[in-house]
């Protein structure tokens, strides 16, 4: 009996003891991608592939193989050989050709190969007007990005920001995410603040001091028509459109004390959701439009709280640090990004709602106003260099940090648009 028990123990131990090795860090190297010039009878082939390369490397998520290092220039699946790319240590290759091309219309067939797996992972085609090659390249870039990362691409999204070229010159600008096609939506000699996109991408809300006090405006992006929210308070700020596009959360000081209010866009009624004597500000909607994060100094220092809109129940979210502000949810609603400060040094941080720990991810020290890409993978924030404001960004895995093209003037308060479906 004893021998049998010993045998069973050994058996159990031998079953339990199979070695498991965990791998969780991954390489610091970026995936290497080759965008082969698309085969074309006109010059456009190379320019399309360059545009795709610019898009895919915009946030530093890929390292591109220079054209002069390529050993072959395939344009179709049948003339593609993996060995030509394996030898160059390339991870992914994009090739393409023009099925149709004339001065008005183009049709492009493209392929994406995973070299390590010897596998074609995407085949597709896209067509459009010749003059829309930037737009077409963004469509291809988004599809290529999704086939490689599993995430929706954001290359066709836009960014709104406040530009302050001189002391009494304020502009609300909208540009493509790569900084091109900048348009001025509104300009004023009085300060402008807090741009926020409607989820249908038709309007932008912001705060203007043009009448000498802060007032919230909603401006139609196509007609340019502006509409202010009529409230009883004299100080209104920090408007944020709900993802369901039905409400606008904002901050109002009706008796000198800022509190969180919600403006119902359908019936134009206003409801009050915080009543504390402390300052409550900077609301940010949860992805399901049922909760709001906000900053409050009710505990003595600025900290993040979460408000359930239906019940007005409030829960404190941050406990560490003497300054936590400007929080917003990630698309999954489980994590948040915020500005985390200690002893006058401010970093961008992320935090799980259910955990105490704040993970600081930016290296600069005067960071503010983080905005998350709609796919949740990239954060752009405003920072300063010798009092000059500019936009910087990073990927959440920390592998890549970048700055957006420098503007003429200080740039503040970036707001990343939702997906452009």
């Amino acid at each position: 009996m004893k021998i049998f028990l010993i045998f069973l123990t050994f058996l159990a131990l031998s079953i339990e003891a199979k070695l498991k090795i965990e791998i969780s860090q991954g390489s610091k190297d970026l995936p290497k991608i080759a965008i082969v010039p698309f085969k074309s009878n006109m010059k456009i082939g190379e320019s399309i592939s360059m545009l795709i390369q610019d898009n895919l490397t915009l946030f530093g998520e890929f390292k591109a193989l220079p054209k002069n290092e390529m050993l072959s220039f395939p344009s179709k699946e049948e003339n593609f050989f993996y060995r030509d790319w394996n030898i160059l240590n390339v991870d992914y290759v994009v090739i393409g050709n023009f099925q149709e091309e004339n001065s008005e219309f183009i049709n492009i067939e493209y392929f994406v190969f995973n070299i390590s797996l010897n596998k074609l992972i995407l085949r597709g085609d896209v067509s459009g007007n010749y003059s829309e090659k930037e737009k077409i390249s963004k469509v291809i870039s988004n599809r290529v990005y999704k086939s490689i990362t599993g995430l929706n691409g954001v290359f066709d999204t836009k960014i709104a920001y406040i530009l302050n070229p001189s002391r009494e010159e304020y502009k609300i600008c909208i540009s493509d995410i790569d900084g091109t096609d900048e348009e001025v939506l509104f300009e004023s000699s009085a300060p402008l603040m807090s741009p926020s996109w409607s989820s249908d991408l038709k309007k932008l809300a912001y705060v203007s001091f043009e009448k000498g006090y802060p007032e919230i405006y909603m401006q139609d992006l196509f007609s340019g028509k502006r509409e202010s929210i009529k409230t009883l308070g004299l100080s209104n700020s920090a408007p944020v459109w709900s993802p369901d596009n039905k409400k606008l959360a904002f901050v109002m000081s009706s008796s000198g004390n800022p509190d969180i209010y919600i403006y119902n866009l359908r019936n134009k009624k206003i409801s009050r959701h915080t009543t504390h004597y402390g300052i409550d500000t900077e609301p940010a909607w949860s992805p399901n439009s049922k909760k709001l994060l906000f900053t409050s100094n009710r505990s003595g220092s600025p900290q993040i709280y979460e408000l359930t809109v239906s019940s007005n129940r409030i829960k404190r979210v941050t406990l560490d640090g003497d300054y936590n502000a400007r929080a917003s949810y990630f698309p999954d609603g489980k994590d948040i990004v915020l500005v985390h400060g200690n002893n006058g040094v401010f970093h961008i941080g992320t935090k799980k709602l259910r955990s105490r720990f704040i993970n600081t991810i930016s290296k600069t020290t005067l960071d503010e106003s983080p905005t998350i890409s709609p796919n949740g993978n990239i954060i752009i924030y405003a920072t300063k260099n010798n009092s000059q404001g500019y936009l910087a960004g990073l990927t959440l895995d920390g592998k890549s940090k970048f700055t957006l093209p420098v503007k003429f003037g200080s740039v503040r308060e970036p707001a990343w648009s939702p997906f452009m479906n």
Partner: protein, 204 residues
């Protein structure tokens, strides 16, 4: 008839003999010195103060663990111990400590290999950025003693094709796990002949 009777007697005698062997715990077949066969021969012959033996063994074991001294050095040191002065308890104690030391030595050797394997695969694996997803993909790896990867199979998918593919791509770039070369064969067989690799999206 007589032959049958003699055969029967032989059979009874043999069975009795076997029974006697069994109840004496096989010791009849074992040479006397093999009763303590787990004590290495190298322990013999040199005089030493018997009271200090357990202490000395402990010191050597600690030294082994602290300074990564190889087992051979331990054995050399133990040669200074005089077998004749051992009593049974001391031998038993020594046996246990040697077994424990061997176990720790194997554990250390394996852990060094694990760290090296982790370092190399981490340097190759281009982990996709799957925001906030806490997922893992598990592979079983079969190795030859030369370190050659004989096969690898996905046994538990992460549910994210991109994630599984990234791990597959990393494994596709490795043909040999050279980190196991030089490992004692029995350690290799026990640990690395077939083992599991778990790719995790997040550090736990």
């Amino acid at each position: 008839m007589t032959n049958s009777f003699i055969g029967l007697l032989n059979s009874i005698f043999l069975h009795l003999l076997l029974f006697a062997i069994l109840i004496t715990d096989f010791s009849i077949f074992a040479p006397q010195q093999d009763r303590i066969k787990t004590i290495p021969v190298e322990f013999v012959n040199l005089p030493i103060d018997i009271e200090n033996i357990p202490k000395k063994i402990n010191n050597i074991k600690n030294e082994l663990l602290e300074n990564n001294i190889q087992k051979k050095e331990l054995i050399d040191e133990l040669k200074t111990i005089d077998k004749k002065k051992f009593d049974f308890d001391t031998r038993k104690n020594l046996e246990d400590q040697i077994a424990e030391t061997k176990f720790l030595n194997e554990k250390r050797e394996v852990q060094i290999r694990i760290a090296l394997i982790q370092e190399r695969i981490n340097s190759i694996w281009k982990k996709p950025s799957l925001i906030n997803k806490n997922i893992q993909a598990e592979f079983v790896i079969n190795l030859a003693p030369s370190g050659e990867i004989l096969s690898f199979d996905l046994i538990s998918s992460s549910g994210e094709k991109v994630f599984d593919d990234s791990a597959l791509a990393a494994l596709s770039k490795i043909y040999f796990i050279t980190e196991v070369i030089g490992l004692e064969r029995k350690y290799f067989e026990r640990n690395f002949r077939s083992f599991n690799l778990v790719f995790k999206s997040k550090n736990q």
